[in-house]
């Protein structure tokens, strides 16, 4: 049987041993015991402590960096600036626009300028205060709309547009002519901070052969390897990067920061010969790292009286801050999803990713989707109101279904479950009963219920080459190691890969071990982003596992004197399918393999088919499969104060195939609460380009006392490319809560807030304006 056919056979099995089961993660024990796993926990005792001196202004020329006083301090072993960089002073995720250490100019608050390394943290911090920068301040561009003006100040010499793209489908002029009703609104969203509980940290030391080893909190070890090598002027094979257990990431740890922490530590290590560790303080982290892009979205939507959408015209503008980071990719996803999950015959979307002198925006779970869905789903309810059509009916009328076309004219396949997700969310939430009940509320506390729908293109799509390498090896003691440079940081995704491998091999999960992602022992495998570990990594895992299985069966076939195709692996034995009594222990075959020098190391490589689409108008297949979902939110609004209390969220998501429902629920629940914060309370505020609230005391993420009741429904419409039909679930759950809450608030109060977060102040004044 060919490899692909064999995998297919496992995938289509009627019942699975492990797939779909609630499995404990492989690293769960270590975590509940509180073992030292994170970068700071495993730092060498003699590691130097590194502090970074950062810009305290949003836009300025650097006239002088005064380091003498710091250099003279006892206990200070190195003070470095850009001139000390051995290789190239660059640390950027995509566009070559960002230095590691600023030397002539700073374009935002928090840019690294100088580095101090000392024997202890107090000395390093004290020395850092003794470094002063002479600035010549420049005026600053503080909003993306400002940055678009033709006479705007420039953040970078070649203009303020980091990326522009568009969607053109049909002819919007014609579409609006056909419309009976046209509405236009502008929506705004805010900077959201990832607020991972572990701030950024990276450490490095020099090995005896002069090569560098870095260990850090990160999502993509190979990006860090490339970045560190460039800064140090070394070839990448002289830099080894290991991802330590990472305490939350959400996207920003796949951008510039891990390169910064490791490259800076590596410079210090190289300079001093000692290990060095750079751990960000929380406020430093919140100022310096990438955040979710704020967007300004103007949507003009046309529809006929019967509710059918005829045209959508959108201007989508993001603020990527002083450096682009992955802004140019975020804007692509936003551009393609800007209409929401609906059939719109005529679409015109223009999307701009703009530079400003605010701090950097970059990758963050959702990657443009939460922003455009807030706009699109708010707009749908506004349209429903204008048409005097029930918001559910309007959605059922226009939603994507198999056989329809997306905004990029991609044909929607049979795996489109949007209708089922929507129906199940409506039913489980008791929508109709609640809508009626809530409409009878009197007094200052009014309840409301709202809905939002989404679609989320899986994996990289147009963002890059979508491939993965997963290595597996069976040790002499019959333990199976899964090793890959794909990472996890709370998602449980790599445990999920082990589960896929276990199912494919027919072995119990307790035999599996995970190695730490290490550039020295893994093949470069693309970034861990875009919820692609299960979809793409899972396929590579199946391939590796199948190869191992073939080897084992081949050796067992000699042992049992029959064709490998007649054998199966079950209950830790390799046995004849037709006569299970004829069996040999799995352990024994492993020993045989070792005796016969049959290598039990295999690598699975999978690359997704390229998305074929025409670039100028973005028409074609933009993503190979989509996750669909629907969220119903119920709120209680204190109409005297504007305070919004979330009562219940009902979320139905299509996981394709939930490899581990426990993990899928975990992602849905966690993503929903992160989306709740995004919708109601979180905003990283820039005043004059300076972050006003870089503390967890002034940046409000939900606590255990802020969460609503939650009901999660997992729908499964197997997708085209994931293992066993799995679809991405890391990001989608953040896309909708803000939109659903917004619509629920309108249901409760009759007035809408058009910009996030939906704070009490905004809700109250929206109500007052209406009166």
């Amino acid at each position: 049987m060919t490899e692909t056919a064999a995998i297919q056979k496992v995938s289509e099995a009627q019942s699975f041993t492990l797939i779909g089961k609630r499995i404990q993660r492989l690293d769960a024990l270590d975590k509940v015991l509180g073992l030292p796993l994170y970068t700071s926990d495993i730092a060498p005792r003699d590691a130097l402590r590194v502090k970074v001196v950062r810009s305290t202004v949003p836009h300025a020329l650097i006239k002088r960096i005064n380091t003498e006083a710091a250099k003279e301090m006892p206990g200070v072993l190195a003070v470095l600036t850009a001139e000390d960089i051995p290789g190239i002073n660059e640390a950027y995720a995509l566009l070559p626009d960002r230095p590691l250490l600023a030397s002539k100019k700073v374009r935002c608050q928090g840019e690294a300028i100088a580095v101090v390394a000392a024997e202890d943290l107090d000395t390093a911090e004290e020395a850092a205060t003794r470094i002063s920068i002479d600035y010549e301040r420049l005026p600053a561009v503080l909003s993306p709309v400002e940055a678009m003006k033709p006479d705007s100040l420039l953040v970078h010499d070649n203009g303020n547009i980091a990326k522009y793209l568009r969607v053109r489908k049909g002819d919007v002029k014609e579409g609006f002519r056909q419309a009976d009703v046209v509405i236009e609104n502008t929506y705004k969203t805010q900077f959201q901070d990832p607020a991972a509980l572990e701030p950024e940290v990276g450490m490095a030391w020099v090995e005896k052969d002069g090569s560098i080893t870095c260990v850090g909190s990160m999502q993509t070890p190979f990006y860090v390897q490339a970045g560190v090598a460039k800064v140090l002027g070394l070839s990448p094979d002289k830099v080894r990067v290991i991802q330590a257990t990472t305490g939350g990431a959400f996207g920003p740890k796949s951008d510039e920061m891990p390169v910064d922490t490791c490259a800076i530590s590596a410079m210090v290590a190289q300079r001093t010969g000692k290990p060095a560790i750079l751990a960000y303080a929380r406020d430093e982290s919140m100022i310096a790292h990438t955040k979710r892009h704020p967007f300004v979205i103007t949507l003009k939507t046309g529809a006929k009286n019967d509710g059918s959408l005829t045209a959508s015209e959108a201007l989508v503008v993001s603020d990527t801050g002083a450096y682009a980071s992955l802004g140019p990719l975020v804007i692509i996803r936003a551009c393609f999803h800007a209409t929401g999950p609906y059939v719109v015959p005529h679409v015109k979307t223009d999307a701009y990713c703009m530079y400003t002198n605010n701090t950097m925006a970059g990758s963050f779970r959702g990657f443009g989707s939460p922003q455009v869905h807030f706009a699109a789903e708010s707009q749908m309810d506004e349209l429903a109101k204008k048409l005097d059509i029930d918001p559910l009916d309007l959605r059922f009328k226009n939603m994507l279904r198999p056989g329809t076309l997306t905004a990029t004219s991609q044909l929607v396949d049979e795996a489109c479950s949007l209708e089922e997700c929507t129906r199940r969310a409506i039913e489980a939430s008791g929508w109709h009963k609640k809508r009626l009940e809530f409409s009878r509320d009197r007094g200052p506390f009014r309840r409301g219920i709202g809905i939002a729908l989404m679609y989320h293109g899986n994996s990289l799509g147009p963002e890059g080459n979508d491939y993965a390498y997963v290595h597996m090896l069976i040790k002499p003691d019959a333990k199976i190691v899964v090793r890959t440079a794909l990472t996890e940081y709370g998602t449980g995704a790599i445990s999920g890969l082990a589960q896929v491998a276990a199912e494919t091999l027919g072995l119990p999960i307790r035999l599996f071990e995970l190695d730490r992602p290490d550039t020295a022992s893994c093949q470069e495998t693309g970034p861990t982003v875009a919820s692609r570990v299960m979809v793409i990594g899972g396929r590579a895992t199946q391939i590796a596992a199948q190869k191992l299985k073939d080897k084992l069966l081949s050796v067992a076939s000699d042992y049992l004197h029959c064709d490998p195709s007649k054998l199966t692996i079950r209950d830790e034995q390799i046995s004849r399918i037709d006569d299970p009594g004829q069996a040999v222990p799995f352990q024994k075959i492993v020993e045989e393999c070792y005796k016969k020098h049959v290598s039990l190391t295999e690598t699975g490589y999978y690359t997704a088919p390229k998305c074929e689409f025409e670039n100028e108008n973005s028409q074609g297949t933009t993503y190979l499969q989509y996750t669909y979902g629907a969220v119903v939110a119920e709120v209680q609004v204190d109409t005297e104060l504007g305070v919004v209390k979330p009562i219940k969220i009902t979320a139905a998501y299509d996981a394709g195939r939930a490899i581990n429902p426990l993990s899928v629920e975990g992602q849905i629940e966690g993503g929903t609460i992160q989306g709740l914060g995004y919708g109601l309370t979180e905003q990283l505020i820039h005043l004059g380009g300076m972050v006003a609230n870089p503390t967890l005391g002034d940046y409000y993420i939900p606590t255990s006392l802020d969460i609503p009741e939650m009901k999660t429904i997992i729908v499964e419409y197997p997708g085209a490319i994931g293992p066993f039909g799995a679809k991405a679930m890391g990001e989608p759950p953040v896309d909708l809560p803000a939109a659903a809450l917004g619509n629920a608030i309108v249901n409760a109060t009759g007035s809408r807030v058009f910009d996030l977060p939906l704070t009490a102040e905004k809700v109250l004044f929206a109500m007052k304006r209406k009166r």
Binding site: V643, D698, T703
Partner: protein
Amino acid sequence: MPLNLDDALGYLEGNASETLPVAGATDLLPRIKRKQIVANNLIDLSGLSELRYIKRKDGRIKIGALTTIADLEAEKDSSAWGRLVSDVIGGFGSPNIRSIATVGGNICAASSSEDLLPIFLILDAKVKTIRKSGTREVPLKEFIVAKRKTALGGDEILAEVSFPEPNDRSACSFQKLGMRNILIIALASAAAFLEMDDKDSRIKNARIALNRLEAKIPQRAENVEKEIAGKELNERTIDSVVARLEDDLALTSDFRASSQYRQEAVKVLLRRALVNCQQRILRK
């Protein structure tokens, strides 16, 4: 690390200008670490158990400065004071912070973020400070001079806060507005104390404390208080009190909220505090 109060005071006598007393450290320690305060000399008061008490004497409740917020939980009951404690304690910091934050620390931090200040202001509290050579008592509203500034001398420790125990013709209420339910400093807050006359028909005494004022510390709204003393406790009185507020309020604007919003919010919070007091009086 003083062995006892006497020891502490003796130390302070000699080292007043350089020494920073610290108790729960919830406010001070992060600021020391961020180098916002220079702390060459610290004196740790957390072990002074003689200052950790809640006593009742001569119609007054006396709370030692080292009493933790968690210790105050024992005071929750259906008395006027007990209900006020219930109002404030659930939203104060977090359970972790309540274990170590002290009453004295909250008072000395002297800012709009300190929830106990409005409470003690409406109770007409006095603070007792102590130095080697003796004690003095100062009304709380005079003790809090400005944001982060108290009348505490360098050789003194805040020893106690005390106030007349509200009688059973009184009721208190504290209303706090924040962006989430815990670990949150007040966006705005209002505290009210009402004491009824013998026949329970008119307000004998009213004290109101508002927060997020331009002064950046909670303060008594004395003009408003004068307005409602002697009136009947009904909806019309409450309406007039709230209306009176308009002229008096000078609220701060900051990145958390605008002064216009705070204006609206404080009116609502004060109304709710007064209505709550009314309900608590009627329930007796």
